[in-house]
């Protein structure tokens, strides 16, 4: 049981946040060591310090038995440390081969590269076409490129930052097999995640971080998801589950043969999407990122005149040609994926951000003048009803934590009494407390007869909240599955494109 990496009293402070507070622990050679924590717990900062990407304020790292100074990714690589990034560090317009070459410290001829990458691909079961440009690859394939690129450098330690967040269940299984094989061949893997079951499945040891501190170091085999979850959060989260059946029969929204025909290789074309949404129904659209979610949202929102064929019928009105503003006036509300910069303007106060999406409400204006009293009281109500932790409505939106801002944004939309609420990634990257609160609010909203569409990569979230789930794969929508008696393996197959 030889130690390969030891963190000693690592401290890193950003303005307003202590990202790492005296972090110390050891990683054993040839093991899979998981680092578990919520978003913002300091996991990413810690591994970025190990990879030389971020400089610690204090503390040191011991590699094998030597004190290591790692000031740049280059130095990390020369010590045998490589990293697979959460948001891939690939070059979209370059080919796979060019991306692989860029990842290698030594100079190499194209034929040698071919040979070397082929050996790795065959050994671990990757499937790469060296001549395809990255922009044409699926997310799973992109991850393969990243991993192969790291392996070409013969690393001793491989850091994987949330590697499963973009994969289908089947791809995750495949990845886990590869990781286990790599470890059997001598590699040490540092695996970062906030998904409890995954960590139980894959890791030998786990370090749990909360608010920048290490709260425990454990042998994974003695743990279960509940115990890990409790240690990660420091409290128990009560989970509300969608149970009610849909009580209404009337259709609120129908999409008929929705297709798009963009020439842009960076977009996914939608292929004859059909669904009906009933009053009070929550409909989830699952799928791996990049399968047309962005395009579907564009069409539903209509901010950029994204071209499409087919019909969108909202309560018997064809809204194809209606602008975002007109659609909102018909009581459709939206929560877009990007919190800062799209759903909210970071530099403006919370009250001003109310007006951002509520300008169609006539009572906020007197002629051309803004009625700030009304807006402020609306903001106050949102803050109160949705547990937004902020001193006042004058605080700039950018100052709120992700979870608080998301509660504010969703609250803003819910309080406008929509008949249809469309959300994209509603709980992406926020703390577990806010996540539970938002899910609960959405379930309550549906019970009051509001229809909801949730586009999300997070299957667990959809399974908790939705009545029905369909999967989007390369622009096509699978048939909808009822959550109550859902077959998870079938859902996984859908996510990999195997529709019935």
């Amino acid at each position: 049981m030889q130690t390969i990496v030891e963190f000693q009293n690592i401290c890193k402070e950003y303005p307003g946040v202590v990202a790492n507070n005296n972090v110390s622990f050891k990683i054993i050679k040839q093991s899979i060591h998981a680092i578990l924590g919520e978003n913002g717990a300091g996991k990413s900062t810690l591994v970025k310090i190990l990879y030389g990407h971020v400089k610690p304020d204090k503390g040191q790292i011991i590699i094998n038995t030597d004190l290591a100074t790692i000031n740049s990714p280059n130095m990390a690589q020369s010590l045998g440390i490589n990293m697979v990034f959460q948001h891939f560090s690939l070059f979209e317009s370059l080919t796979v081969a060019e991306n692989l070459i860029l990842g290698m410290s030594e100079k190499i001829s194209l034929s040698k590269l071919n040979l070397k990458s082929e050996t790795i691909c065959n050994k671990y079961g990757f499937n790469l076409n060296l001549n395809s440009p990255i922009s044409s690859l699926s997310v799973g394939q992109r991850q393969s490129v990243e991993i192969v690129r790291s392996l070409l450098n013969n690393p001793k330690i491989l850091i994987m930052d949330e590697p499963t967040s973009v994969l289908t269940p089947e791809e995750i299984n495949k990845l886990f097999k590869i990781i286990k094989k790599l470890v059997a061949d001598g590699l040490t893997v540092i695996f970062i995640s906030h998904k409890l079951e995954e960590i139980i499945n894959i890791s030998d040891h786990v370090t749990i971080m909360r608010n920048g501190k290490v709260v425990s170091n454990l042998n994974t085999k003695n743990e279960d998801p509940e115990s890990l979850g409790y240690k990660m959060l420091g409290y128990k989260v009560s989970i509300t589950k969608q149970t009610n059946n849909v009580n209404y029969l009337e259709n609120v929204l129908s999409l008929n043969n929705l297709s798009s025909y963009s020439q842009d290789p960076f977009t996914t074309n939608l292929n004859k999407i059909n669904f009906n949404l009933k009053k009070g129904q929550i409909f989830g659209i699952a799928g791996v990122a990049g399968n047309g979610q962005k395009e579907l949202m564009e069409i539903l929102l209509n901010e950029n005149d994204f071209e499409f064929k087919g019909d969108i019928i909202f309560k018997n009105i064809n809204i194809n040609k209606l602008s975002t503003f007109q659609r909102k006036s018909l009581s459709i509300s939206y929560v877009t994926e990007q919190r800062l910069g799209h759903s909210a303007v970071p530099e403006m106060s919370l009250s001003e951000n109310i007006l951002l999406s509520m300008s169609h409400k006539s009572d906020f204006k007197k002629g051309d003048f803004i009625n700030f009293d009304k807006i402020n009281s609306y903001a106050n109500d949102v803050i109160k009803n949705f547990n937004v932790d902020t001193p006042s409505f004058n605080v700039k939106a950018g100052k709120l934590s992700g979870g608080n801002l998301q509660k504010f944004i969703i609250g803003r939309e819910i309080m406008s009494n929509p008949e249809l609420l469309i959300l994209s990634q509603p709980t992406w990257g926020i703390d577990a407390g806010s996540e539970a609160f938002i899910k609960k609010s959405l379930i309550e909203l549906s019970q009051r007869g509001v229809s909801i569409i949730i586009i999300s990569h997070d299957l667990d979230e959809l399974l908790e909240v939705c009545h029905n789930i369909s999967v989007l794969y390369e622009g096509s929508l699978s048939k909808s599955l009822n959550v109550e008696n859902i077959d998870i393996t079938k859902l996984g197959k859908y996510m990999g494109g195997l529709f019935d």
């Binding site: 990407h53 990714p73 891939f88 560090s89 690939l90 070059f91 979209e92 370059l94 060019e98 860029l102």
Partner: protein, 289 residues
């Protein structure tokens, strides 16, 4: 139209277009690495006046060329320090460099305006300009260093994560661009004119900038584009020779008009622009600490 006239026109087009090729190919490399340098006009003028003064003072073409290039290294080095280390806005800094270059060259060259010199044979430089386009094209598409330049311009954060020195790469490409611009200036004052006159580059720096976009960041297209642009500029003399009666100012504006038309045409196809433009162009790189 007789053969002599045609050869004459071709000759003039060749001679007058070369500075566009130099400045354009330099800027192309700079932009490939993700930096927009709007200071070409200023760099060219300072390169022109430095070369001219050195020649008048020493009578040595080699010194003249050498100091002209040094002026490009120094000025573009300052530009690089500002935009890379101090992270100033690339557009504002580039414009400042142009304004500074116009003023500096006018001041330095005041005493030398109108001094007669013996010009250098432009044909060597014409050959060099073709070779340069070939070399840059080869460098960008076939070498690892060229690949790194493209990678840095495509996504500087990824390049940094992989262990490449973004700042150093950009220093190199900015200075290469600066040297090419001063070489263009040297060519204008020593080979093409040959003389010094305030503001004598007459907007060629701007045309070279437009040329890079026109070429959608591809070296060979840049060469073709340069000759189209150069041809338009020369058209005025020949149309006048044929007897078209239009004011001279109309012809002077032709290259700019052509530039605008080409720019409108190119950017009408957003997809092509998006696919060919370096994705990190004009975005400041900040190392996260």
């Amino acid at each position: 139209m007789n053969i002599d006239l045609l050869v004459g026109i071709l000759n003039i087009v060749l001679i007058s277009t070369t500075p566009l090729v130099f400045a354009g190919i330099g800027e192309l490399v700079t932009e490939k690495s993700g930096v927009l340098n709007l200071g070409l006009e200023g760099l060219m003028l300072v390169g022109a006046v430095t070369g001219f003064i050195t020649l008048v003072l020493t009578g040595n073409y080699f010194y003249s060329l050498f100091f002209s290039i040094i002026s490009g290294v120094i000025l573009s080095g300052i530009f690089a320090f500002l935009v890379l280390n101090l992270m100033t806005n690339q557009i504002a800094t580039g414009l400042a460099l142009t304004i500074f270059g116009i003023g500096l060259s006018a001041m330095l060259g005041k005493k030398f305006s109108g001094t007669p010199i013996e010009g250098l044979n432009p044909y060597y430089f014409i050959v060099i300009s073709f070779l340069l386009v070939f070399m840059v094209s080869y460098f960008l598409s076939k070498t690892k260093s060229g690949l790194i330049v493209r990678a840095v311009g495509e996504n500087h954060n990824s390049a940094y994560s992989l262990g490449y020195n973004v700042i150093k790469t950009r220093y190199m490409t900015i200075i290469f661009g600066g040297v090419m611009s001063s070489l263009a200036g040297f060519y204008i004052s020593i080979c093409y004119a040959p003389m010094w006159q305030e503001g004598m580059t007459a907007g060629r720096g701007w045309i070279a900038l437009a040329l890079v976009v026109f070429a959608t960041w591809k070296p060979w297209r840049l060469l073709v584009g340069a000759y189209i642009f150069g041809g338009v500029a020369i058209m005025q003399m020949n149309l006048q020779a044929i007897g078209v009666k239009l004011p001279g100012q109309f012809f002077n504006m032709m290259p700019y008009l052509a530039t605008i038309i080409v720019l409108v045409f190119i950017s009408s196809n957003k997809l092509r622009l998006k696919l060919s433009a370096p994705a990190s162009l004009n975005i400041t790189f900040e190392k996260n600490q």
